[in-house]
Amino acid sequence: MSCRETRPLLPLFFDGELEARQMRAVALHSTRCPSCEDELRQLERLQEVVASHVTAMVEEIDLGDIWAGIAPRLDTRAPTLVQRLRAWWDEREFGWSVRAPAFAAAALALVVGIGMWIQHEDPQRKPELASRVDNSAVLDSVQSSVDSVALVTDAETNTTLLWVMDDAGAEVDPAVDQWDATK
């Protein structure tokens, strides 16, 4: 890399804004070229001068009044509902004879609310569980034209099965049997 190619890249090299390949090439050239190395040192000195000047100016600024300007604006914010309730509660100076039942009532209301929320969270869940757990049926009467009928109950789910011994049913009228195309 020549000096002509390197010079325009020196500020970018100094700021670390070149690609790795160009950084390597500029660095290699600068170590061998006193003129470009001198250019880099000038850039370093310039940066030092600017930095020291800015620092000196910042140190001269008086920040002591900043908080005095911010604090009044903070006070103008409206208190939240919780803050207002808290302030109301603190102002009343309630004793534990009052706080205890109030806390109990609040806890009760919370429990009721959670219970209702759980109950209505998924309306399909409860019936589904209920049907799995209890399918019990009470039969008031059974009439049948077949030879025999059996009543069986599943102990796990209380599901009742009415078994119809329908031997005659094996002979199904194909004309009305839209489901059995093979017969």
């Binding site: 009343r92 039942p101 219970g115 589904e128 049907s131 009470v138 009415l162 329908d166 031997d167 199904v172």
Partner: protein
């Protein structure tokens, strides 16, 4: 602020909170009870072919697996059709069943968490079975035995009022679509 004033203000406040909580409890209980009964009953009829041809359990019948395993000796259970309807109290609802049968269901009333039903399974002009039962709300009652193809039909009769029935309805509909040629 004096003690008397504190008590004078706070007691009514806590009473109000307690009263509100109790009212909330009462309202919740009333809402639950009133929502248990509806103007109509959700009745669903699933017809299943049970056989020993193969070994398979229709995924659409997952909610019925437990009672089927406990009640039947078959190795294959396939959902043939499923139908769900809202039926007004004391009104007849007819469901066609494969094999030329049909099922008549009449919801008669609701008492003690049970739906009272009249169920008739009819073949031609012959009533195979006619029963009156009180089924747990959203419960399932099974009628089985009629021959069909290589096995027997199992008819699962579900009825529920109030919050929407559990049902296999969506699964059933999907299965019907899948099985219908």
């Amino acid at each position: 602020m004096g003690c008397d004033q504190v008590n004078g203000r706070s007691v009514p406040a806590s009473l109000v909170i307690l009263s509100a909580s109790l009212a909330l409890l009462g309202a919740a209980a009333w809402a639950e009870e009133s929502s248990a009964v509806d103007d109509e009953v959700e009745v669903r009829i699933d017809t299943i072919l049970a056989s020993n041809a193969g070994k398979a359990f229709d995924p659409a019948l997952s909610s019925l697996r437990q009672p089927f395993v406990g009640l039947f000796p078959y190795s294959s259970y396939r959902l043939l059709q499923g139908e769900q309807r809202r039926v007004a109290w004391r009104r007849e609802a007819e469901f066609l069943i494969p094999g030329g049968r049909y099922l008549v269901v009449v919801p008669r009333g609701y008492k003690d968490g049970r739906v009272q039903l009249n169920v008739m399974l009819i073949q031609g002009s012959r009533p195979l079975v006619n029963t009156v039962l009180a089924l747990k709300n959203h419960g399932v009652f099974l009628v089985a035995g009629p021959h069909y193809k290589e096995g027997v039909l199992v008819i699962a009769i579900g009825a529920g009022t109030g919050p929407i029935a559990p049902s296999p309805s969506t699964q059933v509909q999907a299965a019907v679509t899948a099985h219908t040629p």
